[in-house]
């Protein structure tokens, strides 16, 4: 596809369940980012990959959050034992820039809206 693709678009989970959110970046994009956007807030940085290497995971809110990009393309954000405060839209973005310092324009997916009951 031409853009960043995320799935599922909507996910409802019961508190305590594990969820996995998938991101297909634009082909050839080296850099990949995950953001969390709570209702009425701006996107908050979670983690950054350069190819398969996770260079910055300082934004992950707890050890229940885990992200991977094993082959340097598709990425998965996993949330274990979901809590109500995890309810948010999770945005994935990719960039052609090889280094974070050059990543001017980020191309965003439509997001995965997670609701934890």
């Amino acid at each position: 596809g031409a853009g960043v693709s995320q799935s599922p678009r909507y996910k409802v989970a019961k508190r305590g369940q594990d969820v996995a959110l998938r991101c297909d970046p634009i082909s050839g994009h080296v850099s990949l980012f995950w953001y969390q956007q709570a209702l009425g807030q701006g996107p908050e940085f979670l983690t950054y990959f350069q190819n398969e290497a996770q260079l910055d995971k300082s934004g992950l809110p707890s050890d229940r959050f885990f992200a991977e990009r094993p082959e340097g393309s598709v990425s998965t954000l996993k949330i274990q034992r979901t809590q109500q405060e995890d309810s948010a839209v999770y945005l994935c973005a990719s960039s052609l820039a090889r280094y974070w310092g050059q990543a001017g324009e980020l191309f965003f997916g439509e997001g995965s809206r997670l609701t934890v009951l």
């Binding site: 853009g3 701006g42 940085f45 910055d56 945005l91 001017g104 980020l106």
Partner: protein
Amino acid sequence: AQRVTQPEKLLSVFKGAPVELKCNYSYSGSPELFWYVQYSRQRLQLLLRHISRESIKGFTADLNKGETSFHLKKPFAQEEDSAMYYCALRGSRLTFGEGTQLTVNP
């Protein structure tokens, strides 16, 4: 630490009126600032960046290091400008403000 502040959550103007969306930042290094926009039912996308000093869809933004501001301006707002606007700062990461919902009334 880096921080972006957009003081107005909501902004409403009439078509043809000037519009200014405010953005202030704090960052100890040399900042790079961006404006991203999200139209209804569309994904977040880049509107403009201060480095290129360009005008996109009639919008401009000037980086004022003295006032640590990067306000977005347009002299004559159009209805199609109605959207959510986010100011973003690239330091050690790309940090977004909370956004301003702009509504342009006919």
